[in-house]
Every structure is written in structure tokens, then in C-alpha cells.
């Protein structure tokens, strides 16, 4: 079986490009043909397995239309308990490996997803393509070669992001720095990686953009220890450091990673990527190529060398899109089956909840991964890509995601506030971007005459989040270290509301003849949710305060 690395080694870069990045040359019609045909293959696999028959409710669709009519939309709970019990006998294809997400799935700690061998093979080509696109110069010429040195900042290969990194390494023959990161803590891994990079060079870099900034800031602030003995015993490293020092002195600023290395490939993705992209470029000298993916389906879309909208990947998942209006209907009545549209039916400028069906023996069928994407345009005019372009907009469910690091559910936030022991009447939690940084903003009305400062409240709630991480694995702070300081994040903001704010708001809503279900503003408001904007709540409170 021909693999990207074979072509790279043979020097057949033209063929490598075709294999990995050829999808950007597909017409929309060709894209849809691939989607349809692979779906039909997947349906055959699903019909022949226990899980598939259960998920499809015994339906045996033979066309895309029948599939969309007869098969219900699913969430992870529909696959329980088989997936968390890793029941391979019920799956459409034998998995080559199981990966898991961070986050609870019903009664279970993780979402386990099986990845069949063929899916991994196809993923390898796709990630190879992402690597090639990330290495392109502005003219679109790829500069990739084997044994590029990449700093290992990703999770293990049993996480979705780890699989993508591992797959890219397999496709393009990257060398991870440090070469043996097994069992190392994050900080140690970074320091060892940096030392090796000083000696051997650094060509590529990938991960969550917030982490890329974090590492850059660590370096900038001297938090990465490189001792003198090491430099003395490694002249190459010393020379590189001297070169960096000269460059930084000439630029009259602290030394940055870009002074040491000329990075060819930077890949990043996740919530709030757009917020951190510029800082990554400032620190590392190259803008990260954004990709959109997940544990559930590998890579869904990627940017090209123009760093604009992302192009959908045709051969890993079948895409359906729930228009916002349909999604809203579903929010009002969860028994409603929202209608979906296909990629050739989406409209530019509109937002959709994305629904995926895995190809190549994957298990997820019409699965709502809980993301809202925006179709920015129906084609990329600049690069001549005929496939609709997208950007990640927000989560569709109740998760509040801060820089992809903290995934907070309504329950976690409630428990954190409760655990502070501070008496309160009610609160509203909302994701906001303040000073170009993602923030969880809590609007609290304290009970009676309890007096507390907003700052101390925020600090106390942050502490509670840290404690709750062990229980919920919301992963808000524990992953890599002091992200707050390094990134300058202040992830929790508290605004105290005047007494009677909530009751006044409800009275006002009653006066507006709002129905019972809409009297109170939702406690939990993920970013971008406009149905009950917090600002209206604030304005109401403001008016209440001024009247009093």
C-alpha cells in the first residue's frame, strides 16, 4: 500500500502533493461523489454489524436520501455502553486503536472512539496534506522534506490530537523532539525538546495555539532552563543561541523563538485559535495553519496557505449540517428531529451545527459533535478551491470552552460557586472575549447584605475549578502548568449584580408578556449564543440600579 512517506522518500513530491493535498483541487461535484460513495460503503458495513443495526434502528438505507430520512441523529449516549466497554464484536470494523476525549460521557469518564486501520491510513494522508499545506510558502509551494524536527507538545496518541500528530509524523517522517518523551512531564518535555532543538534545529511545531503561545512566552520570560554546562558541551547550541541573541539585540527586544529557528511548519487548532494566531506568529515567526478536527472523526477541515477559511476534507467523514433555525427548533423541543443539509446546499454567511458519519468502518453515524461552524464562502477565490470554506464558531451544547483547555459544563460551574460557600441569589455564566482573551464571565447576585469583592470572588471560584478538575476532568488548569500567568489569561471574571436584579428582570419579562419558559435568562450561556443575551440582562440590572 502506497503511503505518503514512500513518495516523500522517492522524491516524488508532485505525487505526494496529489495524494495528500489533491482534495483542494476537487470540484464540489467530485467532493459530493466521494462523500456519497464512501457513505454507501459505510452503510454496508453498518448494516452488517450489531451496533450499526441498533443505531440505524433496523433501517437498511441504500441511498443518501434514505439514510438521511431513516436514520436518526445520534449523540455519544446512543453508543453506550458498548463503546466505553470497548466491545469490538459489535463494531462495523475491527479497530486498530481506541482513542478517547477529555470529558465525561454520561455515566462514564471518557468518550472512547474506535479507529479502524483503514481510517488511520486515510487520516495519515490527510494529516500529511495538512503538514504540506502548513509548509507552503505564499506561492503555494511546499517546502517539506523528511526528518523535519518537530517539538513534541501534543498529547499521547490515545487522544484525538495525539493521533493527528502521530499520523502526521508517520506521513511526513518528522522527528519528534525530544526523541524520547515517554513518561516526561510537560515542563520537562519542553525543556528537553528545546535543548535538542538548539543542537539539531527546529522546523515544525504544532498543538493548541494557546499552548504554542504559552511555550513561546515561557521561552521569552526565561522559564525554560538551559544550563551553561549544556551550552559549553554543545557548540552548535551555543552558536544558535548567540545568533538568536544578536538578532534580538538588533531588534531591541527580548529573545524570541523565531530568533533561534526558522520554523517551516506550524499547525494549530481548537477553540479560540483565531485569538492566539497573531501571538503565535509574533513569537515563532510563522502563522499557524488552523485545522478543525476532533477525536470523533479525525480531521474535518483545514486551512490552505492563504490562512483564510478552512476547506472540508472529503474522505474521512460524511458531513451534514443542521441550519440554525432547525437547531433552534430542536432546542425548544428535544424530541424534534432537525433537518440537515449537505455541503452542496449550504449558504455562505450562515452557521450550522455539524453532523458527521465516520467512513472506513468508523462507528459514529449522523453524530452531533456539538460544534457550530460558519460557512464563510462557497469557494476560495484566491486559491481556486471549489469547496465551501468554513470557520469554527462555537460549541452547540452547554460546554463553555476556554482556549480548548477548560471545558466547563453548567454543573461544574454551579458546583464551583456552591463550593465557595458564598450565599447568592442566582447567577449567569457566559463566555466572553475581553482584551482579545477568552474569559468565563460570571454575573452574580449575592444574598442579602453579604459583602465580597469581585476579585476575591473570581479567585475563590478559580480555586474551586482547580479542585473540581480531579472530579470532572474539566481540565481547566491542570494540563501543563501556569497558563494564566504565561498567557496573561484571567479566565474567570466576576461581576456582582445589585440586589433584586434577577427578580426585577423577571418582573420586566412578565411585563413584556414573556411566556413562563422564557422569564428567566439561561444560567449557562456558551459563547455566541444570542437567544437570551447577557447584555440585555445587564442593561436591565443597570436600569434597576439607577432607579434605586
Amino acid at each position: 500500500m502506497l503511503r505518503p512517506i514512500d513518495l516523500l522518500r522517492q522524491g516524488k513530491k508532485e505525487e505526494l502533493w496529489q495524494m495528500c493535498c489533491g482534495f483542494i483541487d476537487l470540484s464540489l461535484e467530485q467532493f459530493m461523489v466521494i462523500q456519497e460513495r464512501l457513505l454507501l460503503e459505510q452503510l454496508e458495513l453498518l448494516k452488517n454489524c450489531e451496533m450499526g443495526r441498533r443505531i440505524m434502528c433496523g433501517a437498511m438505507p441504500e441511498t443518501v436520501e434514505e439514510f438521511r430520512e431513516q436514520v436518526p441523529l445520534t449523540t455519544y449516549a446512543d453508543y453506550l455502553p458498548e463503546l466505553v466497554e470497548k466491545r469490538e464484536d459489535v463494531l462495523p470494523a475491527k479497530p486498530a486503536m481506541w482513542v478517547h476525549t477529555i470529558g465525561r460521557a454520561g455515566e462514564y469518564n471518557f468518550k472512547w472512539i474506535p479507529l479502524p486501520q483503514r481510517f488511520l491510513y486515510e487520516l495519515e494522508k490527510v494529516t500529511g496534506g495538512v503538514g504540506l499545506l502548513a509548509s507552503c510558502n505564499p506561492q503555494g509551494n511546499s517546502l517539506v522534506k523528511e526528518h523535519l524536527k518537530i517539538l513534541s507538545t501534543m498529547g499521547s496518541r490515545y487522544y484525538g490530537s495525539g493521533v493527528v500528530a502521530h499520523s502526521m509524523q508517520q506521513a511526513l517522517g518528522y522527528d519528534f523532539l525530544p526523541s524520547n518523551a515517554e513518561g516526561m512531564a510537560f515542563q520537562e518535555k519542553i525543556e528537553t525538546g528545546f535543548r535538542e532543538a538548539l543542537c539539531r534545529g527546529l522546523d515544525a511545531f504544532g498543538g493548541l495555539p494557546s499552548i504554542l503561545v504559552y511555550i513561546g512566552e515561557m521561552f521569552k520570560q526565561g522559564a525554560i532552563n538551559i544550563d551553561t554546562r549544556f551550552l559549553l558541551s554543545h557548540p552548535t547550541a551555543s552558536a544558535r543561541l548567540i545568533k538568536g541573541l544578536i538578532k534580538s539585540k538588533l531588534a531591541r527586544r527580548p529573545m524570541l523563538p523565531k530568533d533561534l529557528w526558522s520554523i517551516k511548519v506550524v499547525v494549530g487548532g481548537g477553540a479560540d485559535s483565531a485569538i492566539f494566531q497573531k501571538r503565535v506568529e509574533e513569537l515563532w515567526g510563522k502563522r499557524p495553519l488552523e485545522l478543525y478536527g476532533g477525536t470523533e472523526g479525525g480531521v474535518y477541515a483545514t486551512q490552505a496557505w492563504d490562512y483564510e477559511g478552512m476547506t472540508f476534507i472529503s474522505n474521512l467523514n460524511f458531513f451534514e449540517f443542521i441550519p440554525e433555525r432547525e437547531q433552534f427548533k430542536w432546542q425548544l423541543d428535544h424530541s424534534y428531529q432537525p433537518k440537515t443539509v449537505l455541503l452542496d446546499e449550504v449558504k455562505a454567511g450562515e452557521s450550522y451545527e455539524i453532523v458527521i458519519t465516520n467512513f472506513h468502518g468508523g462507528v459514529l453515524v449522523r453524530h452531533r459533535i456539538g460544534d457550530i461552524v460558519k460557512i464563510t464562502s462557497l469557494r476560495n477565490e484566491k486559491l481556486g478551491i471549489d469547496i465551501p470554506q468554513m470557520t469554527f464558531e462555537r460549541r452547540a451544547d452547554d460546554l463553555i470552552d476556554i482556549a480548548s483547555l477548560g471545558r466547563l459544563t453548567e454543573r461544574v460551574i454551579w458546583e464551583a460557586i456552591e463550593n465557595t460557600g458564598i450565599p447568592y441569589v442566582d447567577y449567569v455564566a457566559r463566555k466572553e472575549v475581553i482584551d482579545n482573551k477568552p474569559v468565563l464571565h460570571l454575573y452574580l447576585e449575592l444574598r442579602d447584605d453579604y459583602i465580597a469583592s469581585e476579585g476575591s470572588m473570581a479567585a475563590e471560584i478559580r480555586e474551586q475549578f482547580k479542585k473540581l478538575d480531579g472530579k470532572y476532568r474539566c481540565n481547566f488548569y491542570s494540563l501543563i502548568g501556569d497558563m494564566e500567568t504565561m498567557l496573561g489569561l484571567k479566565p474567570v471574571e466576576v461581576t456582582l449584580l445589585p440586589q433584586g436584579a434577577f427578580s426585577n428582570y423577571i418582573a420586566q419579562r412578565e411585563a413584556e408578556n414573556a411566556d413562563l419558559g422564557h422569564l428567566k435568562t439561561p444560567t449557562h450561556q456558551p459563547f455566541g449564543q444570542d437567544a437570551f443575551p447577557a447584555w440585555s440582562f445587564q442593561s436591565c440590572c443597570g436600569s434597576c440600579a439607577s432607579r434605586s
Binding site: 500500500m1 502506497l2 513518495l7 505525487e15 482534495f23 461523489v33 460513495r37 464512501l38 437498511m60 486515510e122
Partner: protein, 956 residues
């Protein structure tokens, strides 16, 4: 000086010639059409002409520093014209081709050609400019170009080096030998004639010699070429010759089989590949399947190669009309849609490339070629050969394919017609199904076939043909839910399960696997857009059916659906014509047919059979009281009871009104009695359970002892029935018993006109008192039994029976309050009650047919000791029927529940009877009756049971 001028002219002409050759070398990389007129040679001809005229070059000057050449304006003109007409065209088309080509190999090849052109474009003008001539710039340029092209040939297969070598050798050999011959001849002539070789003689020699050389080359060329080819290609050469001959004689090949197998064999050997196959479209679906392989061995992995009509490989070949290397399937993005199975098939078949056979824009066939025997890559010459053969045979292949399709279609039509005519040959599908499957077996593998029809929520196995012991059987009904037929009927689509052992989607699969079935196809039977069931065809072999066969079966199912439905409708109509709708039993007409058949059959084989005729007792009264709808309902229930009580081989019929008849084949009269008794008892039990005072009487007759013709048998059974009726009903009477008994005065029992009135009167009495439900009928049963036991004549028994039924008729005149009073009776009440025997006698006395019963009715309350009422008769002065009735009446009363007490147990009743013997009852009769009871008589007739107390009292 002149010589130098001449040499320079030659060099310049050669340069132009080289550039023209380069153009023709590049041309095929951007245009596939062959060059018809080599117009570029105009430049060469012009250059030669100008050189001969002395315009190119204008002059040569030899100085101390070297040679200065005055090239003149014309060489610049020719150079620029060539550059703008030919060079720009080449560069433009190469760039365009490079841009649009999806093939990375071609992309790379063009890049190297463009590189070579760029080098020439730089170095050749540089060698002409002043100061450039002093250095070997042109040579350096040519050397670089040669290096580039050599690398392109080696690494990117720019040209086939073998072909170049072979053709080079051939040309060298031909022209070298010709030139050598010419030089030799010239030298010999020079020796002989001793003339001076100058320009004139040289020109003359050339004018004569060139045609001579050309002629000699023409003569030896083919032989020389053959030798070269044989030396280089070896045995492949002969195959290629055969292939060429095969293609020229293609029109004379009689059928597709010879065409395909011959072509694939010769082609494979010509290019020395390990294996090759030819895929042709399967009729209808458009999917491509392997038809011919080389080597044509069973184990050839190419046999499994298939390509769906929507496969990207098929689409690509159709669109691009060029060879598709297997490697590109892993590289080009549009092949992302290829299925894993398709990919695995291609890999396991070790296909190296696909070649399309296209005629008039349609993909006729696909040629799949495996790797070379020597493990090397295919040469450009091999590929040229494949392309050339593919383009030349496509039209003929299509024609032969269509011919074959037509023939196959004709055969299919004949087969379908044959099978349809079998199906329509009889209205009984079951009868002709074996013949149908036998005919079908001739064209497809078949070990199991069935027609399953949907009937509400059940699946009815209408017909079945199986080579194995089937768990299903004809006529069986199984739940429809979850069966494959349910899916097929719902979707109106056929469903083929290629290997049930590997995969089964429906619960029914387990049964088939148990029977050893592997492949099964379910085909919907659709009539007027409604699926009525499925035709199921199965085989023990996995993957037994091809798409073509399934399509044939689909057509067949479509054809036979209507005849099956018609047959079904006919069978239902026929069934209805034989069935009595009210009772669900067969009707009288069918009885007569069946009786004739049975008589014929049994007379032929000398066997016995029996029949029994039965009639419901008191049915008319029931009908009169409760109305005809209730009567109909009762008949329906009786029909069901009869159906459930007779044996599987027996048949029951409604004979008319409330009369039924049953035929019991191969059954003696004794065995028939058992069956008849079971029917009678079952009716009695079920009717009693429903508080319906209806029983049945049965008359039995047997062939041949009771008659040998139908009328005779029925009349005998009828007579026995009336004996049964006459002797109290609810009994089975044998025809032999009638004959053994002495004839009455009338010779036989005649049906009394007023008998039905008796039952009506008895029912009226019972209706007055809920606690005496069925009392008169019970008394009748006991009294008749006692009368028969003591040996009374049938007339007397009949009289006893009638008296028993009517013994309480006088209670009509007793107030309901008294009859249903729970407390102690007052003297007035007693007086009223004691009056009922006389009142009854008065009623009956007015009916001439019943006068004989008067004694029994009037005196049934007399006591043996003379203390009874109404007349205080004593001992044997009391009529025998009255004494019998007294015992039966007392027994019935004691074993029944009364408002003032529960029913007594049997022991207590016996004790009471014994105590009453000689005081209340005739002691002799008591002893006989006790004997009867002790023999279990009461239990056998299932009497003496009380109705539940909470039951209402619609008694008759």
C-alpha cells in the same frame, strides 16, 4: 575556404534538422493525434536551399585567432521563424498540458522537456553571438540537454530505451549497409573506370546511389526488422505477429468467447505479463465483471475483479480514455471514493494498469493487466501496443458483446416464458412448483425455493421445494415480523444475502443455516404496485448468484407475481365454494363430491369407512327463543367444536340446518363410534359450560356394511340419528343397533310431528326456575338409561324419555315466587306445588302424540308406600315410567344445587336412594339405578353438575 563554407552550411542544416526532430519528439507529449504532414521540415528544406544558393552562411573567414563565420540574415530569419512558429507552440502546449495533467509522471516528464528546451534556448543563440563562437557553448548546451533527457528516460520513462535501441539498430543496419554498399560500389567502379572523384561525380553518384540504397533497404528492411525484433523481443515477437493477425481477422471470429479469450491470451503473451483479464459490463447494472482471464485457470485471482458502474476507476477510464496505472489509484484524490473491497480486489489481482476499450465515447470493456513476468516495468512500447490494440478492437468487441447480450436476452425471455407458462399451467401453485423449480435449476444453482405470501401479520408458505429436510413446510404460517420477506415486501426490492454463515440480518437466517443454506435471495412478488409476498431461492453454495442471475430472478418474480395472485384468488374462491361460511365446515355439495370419491376409492381398494350424521337437539327451540342471529352463532360454535374434535384425516360438513355429517376414511364403525362419541360429549360439555341446553344426537353408518352407494349410507345414518333422537337425544346410535332391535308396529320410528313441541315445553319449564336448569334433560338422561338397562322396549323408552322431559310441565301453573322461594314453604305453597303433576297431565292430555306419557307425568311424585301425590298409588300400581321418573327426578334434584342447600355428594345421594327404597322408590329399580351410577354412568354423561351460582339463568 569553400570546403569550410560547405562544412558550416552542413552544420547549420544539421542544427536546424536537430531542432525539427526535437519538435517532433516533443509533439506527442502534448498532442495525441498523429502527425499527418510534417510541415516543420519546410524549415530544413528552406535552409538547405539557401545553403545551396550560398545565403547560409554568407562567408567564412579564417584568421590567426580562428574562424569567423558570417551567418547572414537568412539564418536569423529562419531561426526566428522556427522559434515563433514551432518553438512557442511547443512551449505553450507543454505548459498547458503540464497544468491540466492529473498524472504526476507526465507532469514530471514535461518539466524535464521544458528544462531541455530552456537550455537549448540559452546555449544555441549564445554560440552564434560574437565571442560565443570561440567557445564550445553549443556543445556544452547539448551535453546538458543530453544529460537531462537521459535522466528523464531513466528516472521518468521519457522514452522506452529498448525501443530506441532497437529502432536505432534497425536504421543503422539498414542505412549503414546501404551506405556501405554504395561506397563499395563506388569504389569498385572507381577502380574499374579510374575516374576522378570530384563534386560532379559525387553528385551523379548520389543521384544514382540514393535510389539504389532506398531500393535495397526496402527489400531487406522487413527481414532485417524481423531479425532485430526476434533478437531483442524473443518469443514475444511471434505472439505480436499472431496478435496482429488476430486483429486483422477480427471480423471472422464467430463469438465473444473466442474473441475475448483469444485477445487476452495473445495480448498477455505479447507484453509478457503474468496475468490479464477483460472486464465486460454485466447486463442491466452496468457493473464490470471479469469475463476472460489469462491464464484461464480457476485459481487466477483476477477472477474476483469487479468494478461497479459508479466506481471511480470506471468513471476515470470513461472520461480520460487513457491508461490508468494502479499506482495512481492510491494517489489521485478522486479515487478516494474507491471502496476498500474494490481496492483489495485490485491489489490481490495484482493489477498493474487498466486500459479502457472505448467505442463512440462509450466504455465497452476494461482491460486489466498484471505485472510483468520479469518484474520490470512496462515499456513505452508495451503501453503503445496495449493502447493501439484497445482502440482497434473496441468496436468489434462492442458488436460481439451486443450480439451475445441479445442472445442471452433471448434465452432469458424463453426461460421466463417457459417458467411463467409452468406457473400459469395450473391454478394450484403447490402442484406445479416442483416442475417450476426443476426448470429453474437448469439455469441457476437451486437447493431450496419457496413462495411465501403475506397474510396480515403472518407469512404463509404457499409452495416449497427443497433438496434438504426443511424446517418449513407447505401451508405453514410463521410470524411476519423480523423476517426478510417483511423487509422485501416493505421496500419492494430484492435482497440477496451471499453467505448467511458469515452474515445474517434476520432471525429467519438461523433456520436456513441449519438447513445448510448459504446463499439466499428474496424477490418481491409485486402486483399492481403492492407486494404480496416473496419468491425465495437459495443454494448451499456461498455467493451462488451473480447479479445477472438475480436480475433474471427479479424479472421472473415480476412475471409470476400476477399468476400467483390469480391462483391464490382462485383457490380462495374455490375454497369458499366448498366451505359453509357460517360454520367453517365444508358444505353439502362438497360432501356429496367427497362421498362419491370415498366410495370410489374404498371400493377400489376394498377398505372400510364410516360416516356419521348428527343433529342438534333443541336447536329449533333455541332459535325460537333467542333468535336466528344467536342460532347462527351457536352453529358457528358447533362447527368449531366438530372441527376440533374429529381427526386430521376426517372431514366434517354442514348437511343442512342444524344437521352435520362427517366422513371418516379407513375407519371401522367401532372406531367411528369413539370419534362420534367424542364429538357428542364435547358439544354437550361446551354447551353446558355456556348454559346452553343444546346437545346433539348422532347416527352412525359404515361402508360397506350399511350400504355401498351414497344414498344408502346416508339413509342408514339418518335412521340411526332418529333412533338417537327418539330415545332422548344426546347420544350416538349405531345403524347395527337398529337392525338388532325388534321392529315396532310401525316398522320404524317416524319423526313425531309434535316432538319439537315437547322440547319446547320442557325448555319452558326449565326456564321458570334457574336452579332447575336442564333438570328435565338430566332426568331424561337418567330415566332413559334406567329404562334401557331394565330392558324396556324402544317404544317404552321413548315414552319414558318424553315423560321425563315433560314431567314438570305442570310447574307452568305454579307461581315463580314459590318455585324460587329460598325459605321454608307455607302450606299454601305446598298445595300449589303438589298440583303440578295433575296440571301437567292436563296439558299433555290435550296433545294426542303425548297421551302415552300421561302416566309418567301424573304419577312421578307417587311413593312406593302409597304416601305420594296426587292419587296416593302404591307399589306396582304406580306406572313403571312414573317409578323410573321418581328415581331419576330425585337423583337429579339431590345432585343439583338448590336455593336452600348445596348439591349432595354421590355417596350421600346413594345413601338417600337406598334409604328411600321400598318407601319412596321401587326397591328393584333403585338397585339397578345405583348399579348404573356406581359404573360411572353419571360421570360419563357429565351430568349432575351444577351451574355456577352466579350464572344468570337463560335456561332452556
Amino acid at each position: 575556404m569553400v570546403d569550410k563554407l560547405f562544412e558550416v552550411a552542413i552544420v547549420l542544416c544539421l542544427l536546424i534538422w536537430m531542432l525539427i526532430q526535437l519538435h517532433y519528439f516533443i509533439y506527442p507529449f502534448y498532442r495525441s493525434a498523429r502527425i499527418k504532414i510534417p510541415l516543420a521540415y519546410i524549415f530544413l528544406v528552406s535552409a538547405i536551399a539557401l545553403a545551396l544558393l550560398g545565403y547560409i552562411p554568407r562567408g567564412v573567414e579564417i584568421t590567426a585567432s580562428g574562424i569567423n563565420v558570417d551567418y547572414g540574415i537568412w539564418i536569423i530569419v529562419i531561426g526566428f521563424l522556427f522559434l515563433f512558429i514551432v518553438g512557442v507552440q511547443d512551449i505553450y502546449f507543454l505548459l498547458r498540458r503540464r497544468k491540466i495533467s492529473p498524472d504526476p509522471v507526465e507532469h514530471n516528464q514535461i518539466s524535464y522537456l521544458l528544462g531541455a528546451i530552456a537550455i537549448l534556448a540559452i546555449f544555441i543563440p549564445s554560440s552564434i553571438v560574437p565571442y560565443g563562437g570561440g567557445y564550445p557553448i553549443a556543445h556544452i548546451g547539448n551535453l546538458i540537454v543530453a544529460c537531462i533527457l537521459t535522466y528523464a528516460v531513466v528516472a521518468h520513462h521519457l522514452v522506452d530505451a529498448h525501443v530506441v535501441l532497437r529502432r536505432g539498430l534497425k536504421l543503422l543496419g539498414s542505412y549503414g549497409a546501404g551506405t556501405a554498399l554504395f561506397v563499395l560500389l563506388l569504389f569498385l567502379i572507381h577502380l574499374v573506370f579510374n575516374f576522378e572523384i570530384d563534386r560532379t561525380t559525387l553528385a551523379v553518384a548520389l543521384c544514382v546511389g540514393i535510389p539504389v540504397i532506398a531500393f535495397s533497404i526496402h527489400i531487406v528492411d522487413k527481414a532485417w526488422q524481423r531479425k532485430i525484433e526476434q533478437a531483442f523481443i524473443g518469443e514475444k515477437y511471434s505472439y505480436r505477429k499472431q496478435l496482429a493477425s488476430f486483429i486483422t481477422q477480427i471480423r471472422s471470429i464467430p463469438n465473444l468467447k473466442q474473441f475475448g479469450s483469444g485477445l487476452i491470451s495473445l495480448l498477455s503473451q505479447s507484453i509478457d505479463c503474468r496475468g490479464a483479464c477483460l472486464l465486460l459490463p454485466e447486463g442491466g447494472s452496468g457493473d464490470f465483471a471479469v469475463r476472460f482471464t489469462y491464464p484461464p485457470a480457476e485459481g487466477n485471482p483476477m477472477l474476483n475483479l469487479k468494478s461497479r458502474h459508479d466506481s471511480p476507476v470506471v468513471e476515470w477510464l470513461k472520461r480520460e480514455n487513457t491508461i490508468l496505472p494502479e499506482r495512481n489509484i492510491s494517489i489521485f484524490p478522486e479515487f478516494q471514493s474507491i471502496w476498500q473491497q474494490e481496492k483489495e480486489n485490485i491489489q490481490s489481482a495484482k493489477v498493474e494498469m487498466f486500459i479502457p476499450l472505448i467505442n463512440r465515447g462509450e466504455l465497452v470493456a476494461i482491460l486489466a493487466v498484471g505485472d510483468k513476468r520479469n518484474g520490470k516495468l512496462y515499456t513505452v512500447e508495451d503501453i503503445d501496443l496495449l493502447e493501439s490494440v484497445a482502440s482497434r478492437v473496441a468496436a468489434s468487441m462492442e458488436k460481439e458483446y451486443f450480439h451475445e447480450q441479445l442472445r442471452a436476452h433471448d434465452k432469458e425471455l424463453i426461460l421466463i416464458n417457459k417458467l411463467t407458462s409452468i406457473i400459469t399451467s395450473s391454478v394450484s401453485i403447490q402442484e406445479i412448483f416442483e416442475g417450476f423449480t426443476d426448470a429453474l435449476k437448469e439455469v441457476i444453482p437451486l437447493d431450496y425455493a419457496t413462495i411465501a405470501l403475506v397474510e396480515e401479520d403472518q407469512l404463509h408458505i404457499l409452495a416449497l421445494s427443497s433438496q434438504v429436510s426443511s424446517v418449513r413446510h407447505m401451508g405453514e404460517r410463521v410470524p411476519l415480523k423480523g423476517t426478510t420477506t417483511e423487509w422485501v415486501v416493505e421496500h419492494k426490492k430484492s435482497l440477496y444475502e451471499a453467505d448467511l454463515k458469515q452474515l445474517s440480518r434476520f432471525w429467519t437466517a438461523g433456520h436456513y443455516v441449519e438447513e445448510g443454506i448459504c446463499s439466499i435471495t428474496h424477490l418481491p412478488l409485486v402486483v399492481k404496485d403492492t407486494a404480496i409476498g416473496s419468491l425465495i431461492i437459495a443454494s448451499h453454495q456461498p455467493n451462488a448468484y451473480s447479479q445477472k442471475q438475480i436480475r433474471l430472478l427479479e424479472q421472473l418474480a415480476w412475471q409470476i407475481a400476477t399468476p400467483i395472485e390469480n391462483s391464490l384468488l382462485y383457490s380462495r374462491a374455490e375454497q369458499r365454494s366448498r366451505i359453509d361460511e357460517l360454520t367453517g365446515l365444508f358444505n353439502r355439495r362438497h360432501f356429496e363430491e367427497r362421498l362419491k370419491d370415498e366410495l370410489a376409492r374404498h371400493s377400489r381398494h376394498g377398505n372400510v369407512f364410516s360416516l356419521f350424521l348428527f343433529d342438534l337437539d333443541s336447536f329449533k327451540t333455541y332459535n325460537d327463543i333467542y333468535g336466528h342471529p344467536s342460532g347462527d352463532k351457536l352453529l358457528n360454535q358447533v362447527g368449531r367444536i366438530i372441527k376440533n374434535s374429529i381427526r386430521g384425516a376426517d372431514q366434517a360438513f354442514r348437511y343442512g340446518g342444524d344437521e352435520f355429517i362427517a366422513i371418516l376414511p379407513h375407519t371401522t364403525i367401532d372406531d367411528a363410534y369413539v370419534v362420534a362419541e367424542r364429538v357428542r360429549a364435547q358439544i354437550a360439555v361446551e354447551m353446558e359450560a355456556k348454559n346452553i341446553a343444546v346437545t346433539c344426537s348422532i347416527g352412525l353408518a359404515s361402508y360397506p356394511s350399511d350400504g355401498v352407494i351414497s344414498d344408502e349410507l346416508v339413509t342408514t345414518a339418518d335412521t340411526a340419528l332418529y333412533y338417537a333422537k327418539h330415545t332422548g337425544g344426546n347420544r350416538v346410535y349405531l345403524s347395527s343397533k337398529i337392525l338388532s332391535e325388534p321392529a315396532t308396529e310401525t316398522g320404524t320410528f317416524a319423526r313425531g310431528a309434535g316432538l319439537s313441541a315437547v322440547y319446547a315445553l320442557a325448555a319452558t319449564v326449565d326456564a321458570k326456575d334457574p336452579y332447575t336448569y336442564g333438570h328435565s334433560r338430566k332426568v331424561n338422561t337418567y330415566a332413559v338409561a334406567l329404562a334401557e338397562t331394565i330392558g324396556l322396549s324402544p317404544d317404552d323408552v321413548s315414552r319414558v324419555s318424553t315423560a321425563a322431559l315433560l314431567h314438570d310441565i305442570g310447574k307452568i301453573g305454579v307461581s315463580d315466587k314459590v318455585l324460587s322461594k329460598k325459605g321454608e314453604l307455607s302450606p299454601e305453597d305446598w298445595e300449589a306445588i303438589k298440583a303440578h303433576p295433575r296440571l301437567g297431565a292436563n296439558i299433555v292430555g290435550n296433545m294426542p302424540d303425548l297421551v302415552t306419557c300421561l302416566g309418567g307425568i301424573l304419577h312421578h311424585h307417587e311413593r312406593w308406600d302409597g304416601t305420594g301425590y296426587p292419587e296416593g298409588l302404591k307399589g306396582k300400581n304406580i306406572p313403571i315410567e312414573a317409578r323410573i321418573l321418581a328415581i331419576a327426578d330425585a337423583f337429579s334434584a339431590m345432585t343439583s344445587k338448590r336455593p336452600y342447600r348445596n348439591a349432595l355428594c354421590e355417596e350421600k345421594v346413594m345413601k338417600e336412594l337406598r334409604q328411600g327404597a321400598g318407601t319412596q322408590f321401587d326397591p328393584e329399580l333403585v338397585e339397578v339405578f345405583i348399579g348404573l351410577v356406581e359404573d360411572g354412568f353419571a360421570k360419563k354423561v357429565k351430568i349432575g353438575q351444577d351451574p355456577p351460582s352466579e350464572q344468570p339463568n337463560p335456561q332452556v
